[in-house]
């Protein structure tokens, strides 16, 4: 049992709870109708169009989270400018952060 500030965390307890919930879920599931057989289902309705094969509709890397990236376009264009891959920029960020810290620590000394 791992004590945190206002409580505790016990993975064993969590697993026991998980198993109990899984059993309950299984009981509820098995209470469902049994006469439904595999293969009986109609094909899913896709606006009346023939469903393309799995290979054609596989969503690959770039297109996942397209909407998220599209809505944050402004942020990502700034980020792309920042990550331009120029070696001088890498050093400039490093030296720049140290310079800011220098200024900050001496302002603290004066005030």
């Amino acid at each position: 049992m791992l004590r945190t500030i206002e409580g505790y965390w016990d993975p064993i307890l969590w697993i026991i709870a998980f198993i109990i919930i899984a059993i309950i879920a299984y009981i509820i599931r098995s209470a469902g109708r049994r006469e439904h057989k595999k293969g009986e289902q109609a094909k899913p309705y896709f606006s009346g169009v023939e469903i393309p094969s799995d290979e054609e509709i596989h969503v690959s890397g770039e297109n996942i989270y397209w909407g998220f990236v599209e809505s944050l376009k402004g942020y990502y264009s700034i980020m792309k400018k920042m990550h331009a891959g120029r070696i001088n920029d890498y050093v400039a960020w490093f030296v720049g952060i140290s310079a800011i810290l220098f200024v900050a620590i001496f302002i603290m000394e004066v005030s």
């Binding site: 792309k80 891959g85 120029r86 001088n88």
Partner: protein
Amino acid sequence: MIYNLPFMTVIALIAIGMYAILFRRNLIKIAIGITIVESGVNLFLITLGYRKGGIAPIFTNLPPGTTPEEIPGKMVLPVPQALTLTSIVIGVAVLALILSLAIQIYRNYGTLNAEKVRRLKE
């Protein structure tokens, strides 16, 4: 004033080297910049090791006229020199590595311009 001259040289060397690293686009010039900064830091270490009137810590090679009583007060601990030697050796290794990588980049990319050597980005 004259004793501060080495320290000013240190600052000048580091500033020149940093300028080369930050604003020069050629990878070889960046390597040169790193070497200049390193020389500045090495000069700094050596300057710290200077003691006025000190003698080298070699008992068989004392300057003529040194009495045994003044040895503890005058003999200098050669730590900064040892540090500088170590850092020079390390610096050579780093420089060799940077230059060999630069050669390979020139072979593969056909350029040493940092503007163009950026296929890894975003």
